[in-house]
């Protein structure tokens, strides 16, 4: 169960895992997510389903190694190994409506989850403008994959090493300038990016859907840890989301809530890094961590 069939490293922090779970692959729809545990003492972390294949019985996850759990995954999740637990598909599928023209915006890791939506819009006959942003040229992944489902593709890098120099919001501004008839924008990436994407489309009154990534435990509506304010109402991201109208989301609250275990996260990562260094040196990990 939950065996890793393929892995691809996009950069020294971003990697892709193809995980075998036929029942889940059959049930998955674009926009949904899974919860993953690396080992019995691990955290339950939500990851968006970036792709799925019923034939292969697999789901694809794209992971950025930023914290203890994801660093550990980068280290231990090799082809042939298995995850401790995978459960899903969770959340409501993205609503891919009848649209003539849409922009699909992915920032960094967000490029992965926005891809199946871009593909779905393309399949339904929409004119799809892809806007993907990375910090620099080396971090770019899925450019070709994205290009194959887009009518236009705008690449943005912070340092201008590829595409246009600037943020995805600059890409959005450029796209709206050329295509004032964009009916919907789908933006997935770090919360601050989604916040600014929503701000960029608000004056043009273009519907903007975002996919939120709050801290959650069970993912079935039980803990309420993932609650977000949308249009002044409390929503549980795990069951009501993860897609919400970006113009209604209280991003500042979301970002504040995302930081609520910052200290503990840092402590866990430092402890893991120390132990990892010990292991590399062939020493026993220090008992105090």
């Amino acid at each position: 169960m939950y065996k890793i069939l393929a892995r691809e490293d996009f950069s020294d922090v971003t990697f892709l895992l193809e995980v075998h779970y036929p029942m889940l692959a059959k049930a998955a729809k674009p926009g949904q997510f899974v919860i993953v545990m690396v080992h019995a003492d691990g955290e339950r972390i939500p990851l968006t389903i970036a792709d799925f294949s019923v034939e292969r019985g697999t789901i694809t996850l794209v992971v950025q190694a930023v914290g203890k759990t994801t660093r550990e995954m980068q280290q231990t999740c090799k082809v042939g190994t298995a995850l401790y637990a995978v459960v899903g598909p969770m959340g409501m599928p993205s609503h891919v409506g009848e649209r003539k023209k849409v922009a699909c915006v992915g920032g960094g890791l967000g490029v992965a989850p926005v891809y199946p939506q871009a593909r779905a819009f393309k399949q339904r006959g929409a004119y799809v403008i892809g806007i993907i942003g990375f910090r620099n040229k080396d971090l770019i992944f899925w450019e070709d994959k994205f290009a194959s489902v887009c009518d236009e593709l705008i690449i943005c890098t912070d340092d201008g090493s590829a595409g246009i120099k600037g943020l995805v919001t600059d890409g959005i501004a450029k796209a709206i300038e050329v295509h004032p008839d964009i009916e919907e924008v789908i933006a997935i990436g770090p919360p601050v990016m989604m916040k600014f994407c929503a701000d960029a489309t608000r004056p043009h009154d273009i519907k903007t859907m975002v996919s939120l990534n709050p801290i959650m435990v069970d993912g079935t509506g039980m803990c309420g840890g993932c609650r977000v304010s949308v249009g002044g109402e409390m929503k549980f991201c795990c069951v009501d989301g993860p897609d919400f109208d970006g113009h209604q989301v209280d991003f500042d609250e979301l970002m504040s809530r995302l930081a609520r275990f910052k200290g503990e996260e840092r402590e866990a990562l430092e402890r893991w890094t120390r132990n990892e260094n010990c292991r590399l040196m062939g020493e026993e990990p220090h008992p105090s961590g």
């Binding site: 435990v217 079935t220 504040s256």
Partner: protein, 475 residues
Amino acid sequence: MPAARQWYELMPVKRTDKTPMPQRDATDRAQDFDEVNEGYCFAHAMFEAERCLRCQDPVCMEGCPVRIPISEFVHAIAAGDLPRAASILRTANPLPAICGRVCPQESQCELKCHMAKRFGPVAVGHLERFVADWERSQPLGESPPPPWQSARIAVVGSGPAGLVCAGQLARQGYPVTVYEALHAPGGVLRYGIPEFRLPNAILDWEIDALKRLGVEFINNVIIGKTIALDDLFDRHGFSAVFIGTGAGLPKFLGIPGENLNGVYSANEFLTRINLMQAFQFPEADTPLKVGKRVAVIGSGNTAMDAVRSARRMGAEQALVVYRRSEAEMTARVEEYHHAIEEGVKFHWLTNPVEVIGDDDGWVTGLKSLRMELGEPDESGRARPVPIEGSEFVFPVDNVVLSIGTTPNPLLAKTTPGLATHSWGGLVVDEQKGETSRRRVYAGGDAVTGAATVILAAGAGKSAAEAIHQDLSAGL
């Protein structure tokens, strides 16, 4: 020559009082999550069982939601026949070790006990626990035969209702598969009730016993998401389904500040500790940030579990804030006493109106109003009315909301034709527990809303009987 004294007359306790449960020192136990109650020894149990009046009309049984023949098992203990006591108990209640620990006996069997009219009631709960713990210490018998029925049954959810339903059906020879959404089975017994009240080892033993009966457990599957309910019949070949998905959805108060950092639902707070073992952080990866001062809102068992867990997680001040009075508290009285012993402070007739935070979004206080009791409300309890101008602030670092839960709508929302009440509970036929869908049965909190382990166990048991009858009759 004076008559020889009975051995129990030598015991250093009065026969009029309930034999006290040996328990760990309050200061010690508030440091860890090990079990508080140590359990009766054989002498305690014999002595306590002897206190039973052997009433002609054992009314204790009427107080029991699953009608355990209490006097019979108590007499078996008094006669020193523990195997018989265990077999009587287990036939009536498949989860005695759990119910002996978590049932609100004082409002059920022990309330009815004739001894309770003048003295302390017979400690039925402590005796139930004693017998079940003894049974667990015995070597396992021969393996039961593999399932012999052809109809396969799916059980959705592995909480008390699901476990009991699975066990009863397995004993009738059915191959049973239990699906659990989390990564470990047990439902609320695993994620909700802390180990200082119900150690995981006991839950694991009960689950292993079911596995020995041939019950298959599949974790990490959400029925309604991973597998549609209809596919359980169509693709997976089950003949009947029992839904025991509980009442897992936390309620919030709707007061300002509930989304501040440091506010948890009791479900999140307890799940991080119990299921995810956050008290072992950083050995276990899941953190839980608990400050020096924690306020828990509510007065049920979950509130007691949360506030006592807060103490164990290092809170120096742990308080319970409840808008009604002590008389309306819904927690088991033993948990209430344990909480007081462990230094928890109770603020009755205090209604929280706002969670106050700092500029960084962290909780700093809980603004509340003093209340007084007025006329009875629709629930028959005196309605708490705010005292004007009584507003004040508890300075706290965390607020834990324990004001109830409702059934999880996930399965009903994804299953066509599965009828629910407006408040979310599944509609069932009262006799059989059958839902609006043929061959789909339900029981426990998913039907009743948040209630007790024993009621869920009872519902699981009667649904198992109904499933067996319907399948045998080819209905």
